[in-house]
């Protein structure tokens, strides 16, 4: 960009319809954090009904209107809406936009030394399509019959005959999927094309690798769901029956308007063909963040950097051929189940490799217990629990008892909540100084971490016992069953844990806003890190780098023998590193 034609952009251009990857990243971040909070609030409401079924919700019970909570008592249809929307908001509006839209957008171009994304306008469009999708989802709470209430998986025929909220959900999903597709194309091109000189593929930070694989997953897995979403819209609006067999009798009425011939299982295949790679979309960037924070805070190179990359590629590939392990109970025969169970067991191996590499990276390090590091460290055992509990679910025979129980809820929440969301917190504490030029307060950070860590385990640990006892998920009131009534006390415990976890986020929210103005000012590289984003000023200006950097070495050259400092940044020449300052 030549200086003559450089105009100071207007406020709208600079902060609202911006094409700068950093502004878009922050937009994504703020929007997605708001959605994350909203999704959490929905869950806290559900926890009341679960813990005290049919009792009036204190203080706030009356504000939800008579169609949702007459007299402050939650109706089952509203409970189902909350459940479906909690899942949708957390995954598609919260975690993925945070990991990919916010961290990916902000950090990845900096880490590869690029001035911006390859297609800045596409990037802007991606955000605004996502935003529209979010607005559609929120609006759906206010349509007659409430928001979608057929679960986040929206299995037909239930979703085909559901209230109008489901149509809104589908429109919202089409927007969100489109947004992810636009983003993924941009990411792939940027990572392949815009790396600076010397930054070969095997000198990329692991976070960039994770983003690259994630983008491929998004690119390949989302189109089937987009297609499926459109088919379901047709079923609902145009009278087709892609997912409806003939002879349905709903509420005693033969559905003669359905031509039939469709298959409810088709949706499940299309959905899980997306949604299983989606699980890795949720976890790979999180592993990337954790790898960055661990390398930086152990002051030593990551152990098995290449093995981790190969494992990630393998993981990405395998994630496309395990989807039917979500469908063991749909009447699957021995051979097909054997295939999917085998691929499921195989996919656990690269996950074990990555986790092992991260833990061995701690060995012989000099571990700094900073706030981001605490979150990254807590991620490891939490992710391990989440991963291990996937094992009985992946064995079809054990799945017979555990399928669709709270065990499943516990399992994937351990992966995503204390797993991915802890990684997100690690990332926020780690890169906040880069984005704002100021540190987050570490005392508030420690308080936030310890309470979150304790309470999140109180929320999810009891679910394994509930699941063992055979309690189904998505039950408005589990006490109607003898086996549910027997473990109701665990539900109450879990609920209190959730509300306490909500309180534990207050220090973070305060910290997040106050530190923007009152936090300690920092230099370009407060963590003494090696990757390129720490070369740019904090916050980086438009165009990112004052001079285009050149890369001389791999991403994690910490504690190199003979070097003057315990970190050798990627952009510093070898002579400069070893010269005694």
């Amino acid at each position: 960009m030549s200086g003559d034609h450089h105009h100071e952009p207007s406020f709208i251009r600079k902060y609202v319809f911006s094409v700068d990857h950093k502004v878009i990243g922050v937009q994504y971040g703020i929007t997605a954090l708001s959605f994350l909070f909203l999704g959490f609030c929905l869950m806290m409401l559900m926890r009341w009904q679960l813990a005290y079924p049919g009792e009036k919700m204190p203080y706030i019970g009356n504000i939800f209107g008579e169609a949702a909570m007459p007299g402050g008592v939650m109706l089952p249809e509203f409970y189902n809406s909350l459940g479906a929307m909690h899942g949708t908001i957390m995954i598609f509006l919260g975690v993925v936009p945070l990991l990919v839209g916010a961290f990916g957008n902000y950090v990845m171009p900096l880490q590869i030394g690029a001035p911006d994304m390859a297609f800045p306008k596409l990037n802007m469009m991606s955000y605004w399509v996502y935003f529209v999708g979010g607005v559609v989802m929120i609006t759906s709470f206010f349509v007659p019959g409430g928001a979608a209430n057929s679960g986040w998986t929206s299995y037909p025929p239930l979703s085909d005959i559901a209230t109008a909220g489901q149509t809104w959900w589908l429109f919202g999903m089409v927007c969100l999927i489109t947004s992810s597709l636009l983003g993924s194309v941009n990411f792939i091109v940027t990572i392949i094309q815009l790396r600076v000189e010397g930054l070969t593929m095997f000198r990329l930070p692991f976070f960039v690798w994770a983003q690259l694989i994630t983008s491929f997953l998004l690119l390949l897995a989302f189109p089937p769901l987009e297609a499926a979403g459109v088919l379901q819209l047709m079923d609902r609006l145009a009278g087709t029956s892609f997912f409806l067999p003939e002879g349905l009798v709903v509420s005693g009425v033969l559905q003669t308007q359905i031509s039939g011939g469709g298959s409810p299982l088709l949706w499940q295949h299309l959905f899980w063909f997306l949604a299983h790679p989606e699980v890795y979309v949720l976890i790979l960037p999180a592993l990337g963040i954790v790898a960055e924070v661990i390398a930086n805070n152990t002051r030593k190179p990551l152990w098995g950097y290449r093995a981790m990359i190969y494992s990630t590629i393998f993981l990405g590939f395998m994630s496309f051929i395990v989807w039917a392990h979500h469908m063991f109970m749909t009447g699957m025969g021995t051979k097909i189940s054997a295939f999917f169970a085998t691929t499921t067991m195989i996919i656990s191996i690269p996950s074990v490799v990555i986790l092992t590499a991260l833990v061995i990276s701690l060995y012989q390090g000099a571990i700094r217990f900073t706030v981001p590091m605490l979150f990254a460290l807590a991620f490891l055992p939490m992710f391990a629990i989440g991963g291990l509990t996937g094992l009985p679910l992946g064995l079809p025979a054990a799945d017979i008892h555990l399928h669709d129980t709270y065990y499943v809820i516990g399992h994937f929440h351990y992966v995503v909540a204390p797993g991915t969301i802890f990684a997100i917190f690690a990332g926020i504490y780690f890169w906040y100084p880069k984005v704002t030029g100021r540190m987050l307060n570490s005392t508030l950070g420690y308080i936030h971490f310890f309470f979150s860590f304790i309470f999140i385990n109180i929320v999810f640990m009891p679910m394994f016992w509930q699941g063992m006892a055979g309690v189904s998920r998505r039950l408005y009131n589990q006490t109607v069953y003898a086996h549910g009534d027997a473990v109701q006390s665990l539900t109450v415990m879990s609920s209190w844990g959730a509300w306490m976890l909500g309180l534990a986020q207050i220090p973070f929210i305060i910290n997040f806003f106050i530190s923007r103005f009152a936090g300690k000012k920092v230099s370009n590289n407060p963590w003494h890190a090696t990757t390129l984003e720490w070369l740019a000023p904090s916050p980086p200006p438009h165009g990112n780098f004052e001079t285009v950097p050149v890369v001389y070495r791999g991403p994690y050259e910490y504690s190199v023998p003979g070097a003057s400092e315990d970190f050798n940044p990627q952009h510093v020449t070898t002579e400069a590193c070893s010269s005694v300052s």
Binding site: G65, E66, A67, P70, L75, G145, S251, G252
Partner: protein, 246 residues
Amino acid sequence: MKLSMFTLAAAVAINTFVYTPTQCMADGQNTITGKIIFKGDPDAYKRTKINTSKDPNCKKSKKTIGSEQVIINKKSDPMTLRNVVVSIKEGLGKKAFPVSKEQLTITQFGCQYVPHVLAGQAGQELRILNGDDTNHNIHFLPEVNDQYNFTQPKKDTEVGKVITLKAEDPFKVKCDVHPWMNCFMAIFEHPFFDVTDKEGTYTLAGMDDGKYTIEAWHEEFGKVTAEVEVSGGKAANQDLTFEPKP
């Protein structure tokens, strides 16, 4: 809003024994009364006990409930039919009638809807109450109106929203938790309708002078019509007969 047990019992009692739709808004002087006669073999339409063992809570409100599709008053001669909707079908012209202010209620009691057949005027308010210690799911199956589908998971609750309906031929409303539970609603543009009581009688009141076609509808036997001419405030008598083919 919490209903006291007494109100609820009163509502059930009123609905069961003295239920009559309101007809106060019409300003004419004429009335039509009559019986709905059943000609056929009553043994072919015996009422049966409904097995409510699926939900033991049903029995808490009422021990035994019986089927309600066909209820024949065998004591009268000729035999009469209960739960028949009688209304004026033709002859009112384009006249508009004010909507009754009185609320209609349906109570779920003993896992049955009380009343089993409800007639009302378009725009009249309707409340649905739950008198059972169990969960009900009210599912409307109309053609014209909204297909309401909502739950009432607790005893002594009522739907907060008050429903108002559009005019429609009798349609079914059922409970998705207790499949035997259903009732019918008939909604009219005018206030000239009635549902036959235990004795099988009806009264239509307040019409102007004129010639009318009246229609009787029964959920099993369908519709029959008759022509009646009324004038000068005299009560006209018109019986209608259902004669199901064996």
